[in-house]
Amino acid sequence: MGKLLQKPKSFYNEFFRSPSPDKLSTHYCPGCGHGVIHKYVAEAMDDFGIADNTIWISPVGCSVFGYYYFDCGHQQVPHGRAPAVATGVKRSHPEAIVISYQGDGDLAAIGGNNIIQAANRGENITVIFVNNSIYGMTGGQMAPTTLVGQTTTTSPYGRNPANEGYPMRMAELIAQLEAPVYVERVALNNAQNRNKTRKAIRKALKIQIDKKGFSLVEILSQCPSGWKVSPVDSLKWMEENQMPYFPLGVFKDVVEQRNPLETKPRIWDKDTIIKMLDLDRQVKEYAKPNPTKDIYEQPKIKVAGFGGQGILMLGVLLSEAAMLNGKQVTWIPSYGPEMRGGTANCQVVIRNNKVGNPSVDKPTILIAMNQPSLDRFEKDVIPGGLIVINETLVTSGVTRDDVDVLAHPFSDIADKQLGTVKVQNSLILGALIKHTNMLDQQAIFDALPAHIKKIDLIPLNKKAIELGFSLG
C-alpha cells in the first residue's frame, strides 16, 4: 500500500532542468490537468519498467517542458511535428518506447496532417493528446477544439462556426483510419473518469510494448487559466461545455486482432552490402582500341531522335563500354526545350582524362534517328566528323560534304532481320563501333547486363550488335 503514496520514480523529485529557482513546483498553473496526466504516465512507466528505454517527444505548447519532469530520454521538437519526429525515432530504434505528448493546437491544427499520417502508417508509438479547448502556453487563443461560442483572445466574440468552423473531434477522426489499434477519449472531471484515464494510458503503452501499433488517448483536461474559471469550477466547466461536444468512450480497439509488428535487422556484413548494392561486378581487362580516325580517340557524341527509339539507352551502353575500356566518360540526357515534341537526345563525351564540360555543342559523331534530328544538328558536327543516319526515317541525305556518313535503314533491318524495331539502338551501336573501332567490341557486349534489366532481352541485343558489326 505504501507504493500508492509515493511519487513515481520516472518523475523527477527535483526539476533540476527548470531555470526557475523553485525546483519543486511544476511550471503548470494551479488546477491544470497536465500534472495528473504526467503522474499517470510516470506511474505506468514505473510499472512497465520502461523509463530506461523511453524517448519522450515534446512539441510546442504547455507540455514543451516535458524534459523537466520525466526521467527518460527527450526530444523537444517543432510545433505540430511530434508524430513525424516520433516516426524518425521509432524507425531508428524500434525497441525504444516513444511517447508523443501533444496539445490540441499542436495535434489538431498545425500538426493535423502529421498525426493523421503517422496514425495511418500505424507507427508503433503512443500519443497522449491533451484536449483543453484552448492554446494555454501562448495565453489563451482559440484552438481547433475551442467550443462554439467560447471566448478566447482570438475569438473575443465567441467561436463562430460561420467564421471558424466547428471544434474538431480528433479521436473520432483518427479512429476512422484502418491502421490505428486503439483510440479512446477520456476526461479528468471526476475520480471515476480519472481512473479510466489512468487505465487508458496504461493500455496505450502496453500496446506499444507488445509492438501492436498506433494508439491515441485523447484526454479532456482542464485549463482554469485559459477558461478564466477557478480550478474548482473548471471541472464543472468541463462537464457543461467540453463533455457534451466531445463524447467519452473507446472509438477503436482492435488490439486482439493485431499481430505484433516485425522489424527486419539492419545488415552490416560488408560483402552482403556490396552484393545488395550491385557493386560486386568483377574487373576485366580489355584490348586497347585502335580507332579508324584520330578524332574517334576522344569523341563527343550526340544521339537524337524520337522518344521511344532507345536513344538514351544507346548512349548509356556506349558510355558503359567506354568506361569498361578504361576511358573517362559522361552521359547527359536532353533538357528543357529540347525535350518537347517527343524528341529525345543524349550527349556522351569520351576522353582519356577527366571530362570537363559534359554538354556537346559540336559533336564529333551525330547519330540521327529521325529527320528532325538531322535537320537540327547536322550543322553542328565538326568538319571531318561522322553522321550516322537511320534511313528508315531520314529521307533527305546529308547536305554537307565535309563529314563522313554511315547510313542504313536501321529500323527496317532491325524489324525484318531481328524481329523487332526495339533493338535498332543496339544495331546502330554495333555499326558505330565497327565503323570507328573506338572501343573493344567485347566491352560493348559486357556493357549490356549492367543496364538491360530484363535479362531475357540481352541475347537479342547481342545479336543486334553482331549484325551491326556487319553494317559498319
Binding site: R17, P19, A51, D52, N53, T54, I55, I57, Y67, D71, C72, G73, H74, Q75, Q76, V77, P78, R81, A84, V85, A86, T87, G88, V89, R91, S92, H93, A96, V98, N113, N114, Q117, K264, P265, R266, I267, W268, I273, M276, L277, D278, D280, R281, Q282, V283, V316, S319, M323, V329, T330, W331, I332, Y335, G336, V355, G356, N357, P358, S359, D361
Partner: protein, 354 residues
C-alpha cells in the same frame, strides 16, 4: 570494387548506405526523385528504413528524430521542398542534430521549372531558416563527388553535430559518370553518440533541445554553436584550382559551371589568354582566404553563376573588392555554353567592360 557507370542521384543513395546511413525520409520532387526511388529500392534490401513522408515538413522532422536518436539519416529534395524544410533545419542546428540534406537545385522562384539552377546559394549558405547559423554546404561537380561528398557530409555532420547540405543541381544529379565506390563502413567504426537518445539506460539523460529561455543562456548557446563553426571555417574549407599560377584572369564557379569553365580555360589558353579556375567545393565555409591571396596578384576575376548573382557577393567580400570582378550568368535552367563565357572573357581581356 569495379567502377560503376551511374547517375549522380543514384550515387548518393549507394554512398549513403556505404556510409552507414540507416534511415531515409523524403518526399518526391523532380529532379531529386531518383534519390528517393533509389533509396526505396536499396534501403530495404540492406535492412534499412526508407519511408516516404507526407511532406518535406515531415521529412525533415523525421530526420530530426532519427539524427537525434543517433543514426545516420538523410533526405533529398529540390528547391521548393528545401524551402519547406527550413524550420526543421533551423531546429536541427539549434538542437545539434547531425543529418544530411541533399538539394538538387531547380529553377525558381515559385514553382519555377525542373531545369538546373544555382539560385539557392543564398538560402544554403546564409542560414536559410530562422536564427543565427550557417550550414556546412558541399558542392559536388561530378557523380564521383556526389558519392564522395555524401560520405564526407555524414562525417562532417557527426563531427560537428550539425546538419550538412549537399547542394547540387539538376545537371549533376541527372548526369551519368563512372564512380568508384569505397568499402562499406563497419558498424563499430561509426562514431559513438552518447549525447543522442538511443532508448537505452546509458542515454537516459540525453536531451535533444533548442530551448534556452534565459537570454544569457541562449546567448551562450549561440556563441558555442558559432565557435564550432569557426572551427569548421579553419579546418574544412575545400576548393579546387586549375591553371591558376600564371593566370591573368581567374574564373570562379561551382557545380556544373565549373565543368564548363574548365573547357573555357583550356580553349582560351590555346588562344593565348591566361585563364585560371577556382572552384569552391565547400560553399560554406567559403574559400575566402585563398581568394584574398589570389586578389593580391591577379586583378581580374569572373564569377559565373546560374543565378541572379549570389556567390559573387562572397567573392567581393573575400577579395575586399580589390580586383575588378566581372559577372556572367544564365538563369531559368539555361546552362551557359563555353562559347558564351569565352566571348565574355575575350571582351574583358580586350579592354571592353564585359
Amino acid at each position: 570494387m569495379a567502377k560503376e557507370f551511374i547517375k549522380g542521384n543514384y550515387a548518393v543513395v549507394k554512398a549513403a548506405i556505404l556510409a552507414g546511413a540507416e534511415t531515409y525520409f523524403g518526399y518526391p520532387i523532380t529532379p531529386a526523385s531518383e534519390i528517393a526511388e533509389g533509396s526505396a529500392f536499396y534501403f530495404p534490401k540492406t535492412g534499412r528504413t526508407f519511408l516516404q513522408a507526407e511532406s518535406e515538413v515531415a521529412s525533415i522532422n523525421m530526420l530530426y528524430g532519427a539524427g537525434g536518436a543517433g543514426v545516420r539519416t538523410l533526405t533529398a529534395s529540390s528547391s521548393p521542398g528545401i524551402s519547406l524544410m527550413q524550420e526543421g533545419i533551423s531546429y536541427s542546428v539549434g538542437s545539434e542534430v547531425p543529418c544530411l540534406i541533399v538539394n538538387v537545385n531547380r529553377g525558381g522562384p515559385g514553382l519555377g521549372n525542373i531545369a538546373p539552377e544555382q539560385s539557392d546559394y543564398n538560402q544554403s549558405t546564409k542560414g536559410g531558416g530562422h536564427g543565427s547559423y550557417h550550414l556546412i554546404v558541399l558542392a559536388p561537380n561530378s557523380a564521383q563527388e556526389m558519392c564522395d561528398f555524401t560520405i564526407k557530409g555524414f562525417e562532417l555532420a557527426d563531427r560537428y553535430r550539425t546538419p550538412v547540405l549537399l547542394l547540387t543541381d539538376a545537371f549533376i544529379g541527372q548526369m551519368m559518370e563512372p564512380v568508384e565506390f569505397p568499402e562499406p563502413i563497419s558498424k563499430q567504426d561509426l562514431p559513438s553518440k552518447p549525447w543522442a537518445t538511443l532508448g537505452n539506460p546509458q542515454t537516459k539523460k540525453s536531451i535533444i533541445n533548442s530551448i534556452y529561455l534565459e537570454p544569457a543562456e541562449m546567448e551562450q548557446h549561440i556563441i558555442r554553436l558559432e565557435k564550432k563553426m569557426d572551427e569548421v571555417k579553419q579546418k574544412e574549407v575545400l576548393f579546387e584550382e586549375y591553371l591558376i599560377e600564371d593566370a591573368e584572369i581567374i574564373t570562379v564557379g561551382y557545380g556544373i559551371i565549373s565543368r564548363v569553365l574548365k573547357n573555357v580555360v583550356e580553349d582560351l589558353r590555346a588562344k593565348g589568354i591566361k585563364v585560371g579556375l577556382l572552384r569552391p567545393q565547400t560553399l560554406w565555409p567559403f574559400p575566402e582566404k585563398r581568394l584574398a591571396q589570389l586578389a593580391e596578384k591577379v586583378n581580374k576575376f569572373l564569377v559565373v553563376e546560374m543565378s541572379n548573382g549570389q556567390m559573387i557577393n562572397d567573392v567581393k567580400l573575400a577579395t575586399n573588392c580589390k580586383p575588378e570582378i566581372y559577372f556572367y550568368n544564365r538563369m531559368g535552367g539555361v546552362v551557359p555554353t563555353a562559347d558564351e563565357i569565352i566571348h565574355k572573357i575575350e571582351n574583358i581581356m580586350g579592354g571592353n567592360n564585359g
